[in-house]
């Protein structure tokens, strides 16, 4: 094929020794040259020596590379060719020169003067002389840089598409809509379904089980054709390696190079589905637990609004679910007013800080009665990590609280009893103290009484016995003196005086002794002693006293009782003699199994009338009273002014011992 021509004209002046173009006829060259120029094509034309040096170049070629023509003709193929393309070009060039090939055509890169690279399509042929010797080569250069860039972009785009297609995180298949033949699948597809690309290309989805059945395929296809895409179909598809799994499938109609294909993506949602089902089951189970639980379970909003309550809670408070939840009640509506503050404080703290809490507090039932519950409240955290609601578990502790209350009451009662008992003991102790102090007073009084008696005894001895003995002594002294002096006329009188004095002394001594301890009290008992004293009293003071001994005589009493009653009688009678101005007195003694009664009365002026003697009298009364009390007895004085005085003494008898009864007097 003779496509290469030698350009003539402005190239003609070159007369280089190696220039073998001279062998062509000028007319031939001109004709070709003119033809090319006329076409105004952006085609570079270049003539090259057999060794690869540029011999001539047209203006277009110079413009392509940015060289002046003169500069260009200083250079050769190697100087302006991209180093990666040089070998290919120069090799073909050699083959061309050698006649091994008639021409060649390559795409190669040129380096422009400014360093820029341009892509060009170079077609080279060889010019020979008549005898067939190669003279030089002619190359036609087309600038294809733009085309090349477009092709690069396309290739890059295809590469990218392929990459994305392969690396999609879900299985992707490209099929033909008409017959369902698989054109391509991606890497994820291979991984998920266990088929290699080679295994599936050319097969249909249906025969691989990648569409459940033909009917389904038709249905989906119809929808796809109508809308251009199908979204979110759940399909159970058979994989080669992993059995049947659940996929979420999308389909799109895509156009590639003018043809329409189906791009199907399958996302394995088996696990997610299982999780969801497990969640669902768990929710169902939870719901069952909630409704069967005996504890009340309550979900509340952050403001305490009841969002859910279980059956047990409804039963506890006596409201229906809808009354509590649908009517928008809050837990504060149900809480006892006294417990709201504390409950709210803990609840708000939980909402703020996410801390669960537990509280014993009262709820109010629909019927107004009180229910004690132990509530444990935990926050329910939202995705953002802070509480969006709460769950409370309410346990009825009313009976425990009641038990605690009764225990508390019991404790209070016990404490009260202990206090009472303590008070009793205190009172007893005080009484004991009082009685001890009284005993002290009594014992002091006893000493005093004893001293009083001794004093009176001493006085009696001094005043009466002593004086009488002194008088006796004086008489005897006088008698002695008169006898010695021989005076005898008055001796008889002196001696009879002395005898009288001696008698008086005897009587006085007996009186004193009898006062000290009446001997007949020990020998014959109280009645006898009283009778003796009464008779002496009558003689001495001239006041008649009525006293009758009983027949048979009263049995002997306890020694202390007898002496006490005797002393009281003596004191009472002495008081009558000294202060009462009575004309007569009466003394009586009675005894039964438990007590002995002594009464002394007179018809005198009464105690109130005895102004002057009040002190000594009241002293005497006090001693009588104390004597009676010392034996746990009582002494009462009844006295009306001008109508006499009555003293009543009651002394309890000690429990009798069997053989301590009625002792005969031991003389």
């Amino acid at each position: 094929m003779e496509k290469a021509y030698k350009a003539q004209g402005n190239l003609g002046e070159k007369k280089l020794p190696t220039d073998k173009r001279a062998s062509l006829s000028t007319s031939q060259l001109n004709a070709k040259h003119q033809q090319i120029i006329n076409q105004h094509l952006p085609i570079g034309i270049i003539e090259t020596s057999l060794e690869g040096k540029y011999l001539d170049a047209n203006e277009e070629f110079c413009l392509m590379l940015g060289y002046e023509k003169a500069e260009l003709l200083q250079r050769g193929i190697q100087d302006v060719t991209h180093e990666e393309d040089y070998q290919a070009d120069i090799q073909l060039h050699s083959q061309l020169v050698a006649g091994e090939i008639p021409y060649y055509k390559i795409e190669k890169r040129f380096e422009c003067k400014d360093g820029q690279i341009i892509w060009a399509e170079l077609t080279r042929s060889v010019i020979r002389d008549a005898s067939g010797n190669a003279l030089y080569t002619v190359g036609i250069v087309l600038d294809i840089t733009e085309r090349h860039l477009a092709e690069d972009a396309l290739r890059e785009s295809e590469r990218k598409f392929s990459l994305i297609f392969d690396k999609l995180p879900f299985a992707a298949t490209l099929t033909k809509p008409q017959d369902g033949l698989i054109l391509d699948v991606n890497e994820t597809f291979e991984k998920i379904f266990g088929y290699s690309k080679q295994e599936v290309i050319g097969k249909t989805l249906l025969e691989l089980g990648l569409i459940p059945d033909a009917e389904t395929r038709e249905r989906i296809l119809a929808e796809l054709l109508e809308r251009g895409s199908v979204r979110g179909i759940e399909l159970e598809l058979l994989t080669k390696s992993n059995g049947t799994r659940i996929f979420l499938t999308n389909m799109d109609l895509v156009e590639i190079q003018g043809a329409t294909y189906i791009l199907q993506t399958d996302q394995d949602i088996t696990e997610r589905k299982q999780v969801l089902e497990a969640l669902h089951e768990s929710e169902e189970r939870f719901r069952a637990i909630l409704s069967q639980a005996t504890a009340g379970i309550v979900r509340k909003g952050t403001d305490g609004t009841l969002l859910f309550v279980n059956d047990a809670f409804c039963r506890m408070v006596g409201y229906t679910f809808s009354e509590l939840v649908s009517e928008g009640k809050t837990c504060w509506d149900l809480t006892h007013p006294d417990d709201v503050e504390e409950n709210k404080r803990l609840f708000d703290q939980m909402i703020r800080e996410g801390i669960p809490f537990q509280l014993e507090r009262r709820l109010i039932r629909r019927n107004g009665s009180i229910l004690w519950t132990n509530v444990s409240v935990s926050p329910v955290l939202g995705v953002a990590g802070y509480p969006v609601s709460s769950v409370g578990v309410e346990v009825d502790i009313t009976s425990r609280k009641q038990a605690e209350e009764s225990l508390r009451q019991l404790n209070l009662e016990l404490e009260r009893r202990v206090e009472e008992r303590t008070a009793e003991l205190k009172a007893m102790n005080e009484a004991l103290q009082k009685s001890r102090r009284r005993l002290q007073v009594l014992s002091q009084r006893l000493v005093q009484v004893q001293e009083d008696e001794r004093r009176s005894l001493a006085r009696e001895l001094h005043d009466r016995v002593g004086q009488s003995l002194i008088a006796l002594n004086l008489n005897l002294t006088i008698v002695q003196g008169e006898i010695s002096r021989g005076y005898t006329e008055q001796l008889g009188t002196r001696l009879s005086d002395s005898i009288q004095l001696a008698r008086e002394v005897i009587v006085l001594v007996r009186d004193v002794m009898s006062n000290l301890r009446p001997t007949n009290l020990d020998d014959y008992g109280l009645e006898s002693a009283l009778q003796t004293y009464v008779s002496e009293f009558q003689t001495r003071y001239g006041i008649p006293v009525h006293f009758e001994k009983r027949t048979p005589p009263m049995s002997r009493l306890d020694n202390n009782i007898e002496i006490t009653l005797l002393r009281i009688s003596q004191e009472a009678l002495m008081n009558i003699a000294r202060h009462a101005q009575a004309s007569q007195a009466k003394l009586s003694l009675q005894v039964d199994e438990k007590q002995v009664y002594l009464t002394i009365e007179d018809d005198g002026i009464g105690i109130q009338g005895q102004e002057g003697a009040k002190r000594s009298r009241s002293h005497g009364l006090k001693i009588m009273q104390e004597r009676a009390e010392a034996l746990e007895g009582t002494l009462h004085i009844r006295s009306t002014s001008g109508q006499g005085t009555k003293i009543e003494v009651v002394i309890p008898l000690p429990a009798r011992e069997p053989d301590a009864i009625s002792q005969e007097p031991s003389l």
Partner: protein
């Protein structure tokens, strides 16, 4: 004659003492008293040389009587009669103005001598009587 006022509440003692004093011959009992008050009254009218006063008497005792007799008859010398030999009694009598103290037990033997001593301007205290500061 030594004039004497004799005061004792026991009638037989008083009588015995009067007899013993008068039997001495130089002593005349010019007044008798049964208690201190009577003794003071008698002294006021009789102004005896010596007043023999029992220390314990009803109505007014011998100590007070001694004081009052000396107030009305400063020249009368007081002889106290007593059952007690204890110093307290003696001291009280001396403080009241008595210049003699005779125990009743020994009166039969000592009384006359005591009256004479007092009349002679001396003092007399029965042996065994405890004396203070004299």
């Amino acid at each position: 004659m030594i004039t004497v006022l004799l005061a004792d509440d026991h009638v037989m003692v008083r009588d015995g003492l009067r007899h013993i004093l008068e039997a001495a011959g130089d002593i005349q009992v010019i007044a008798l008293a049964a208690n201190g008050k009577e003794a003071v009254a008698q002294a006021l009218t009789q102004c005896p040389d010596i007043a023999v006063i029992d220390i314990s008497m009803p109505v007014m005792d011998g100590i007070e009587a001694t004081r009052q007799i000396l107030a009305v008859c400063p020249h009368t010398r007081i002889l106290t009669l007593s059952m007690y030999q204890m110093g307290d009694y003696v001291q009280r009598a001396v403080q009241a103005g008595a210049v003699g103290y005779v125990l009743k037990d020994e009166a039969g033997n000592e009384l006359v001598e005591a009256v004479r001593r007092l009349h002679a301007g001396q003092r007399y205290f029965s042996p065994g009587v405890v004396q203070f500061g004299s």
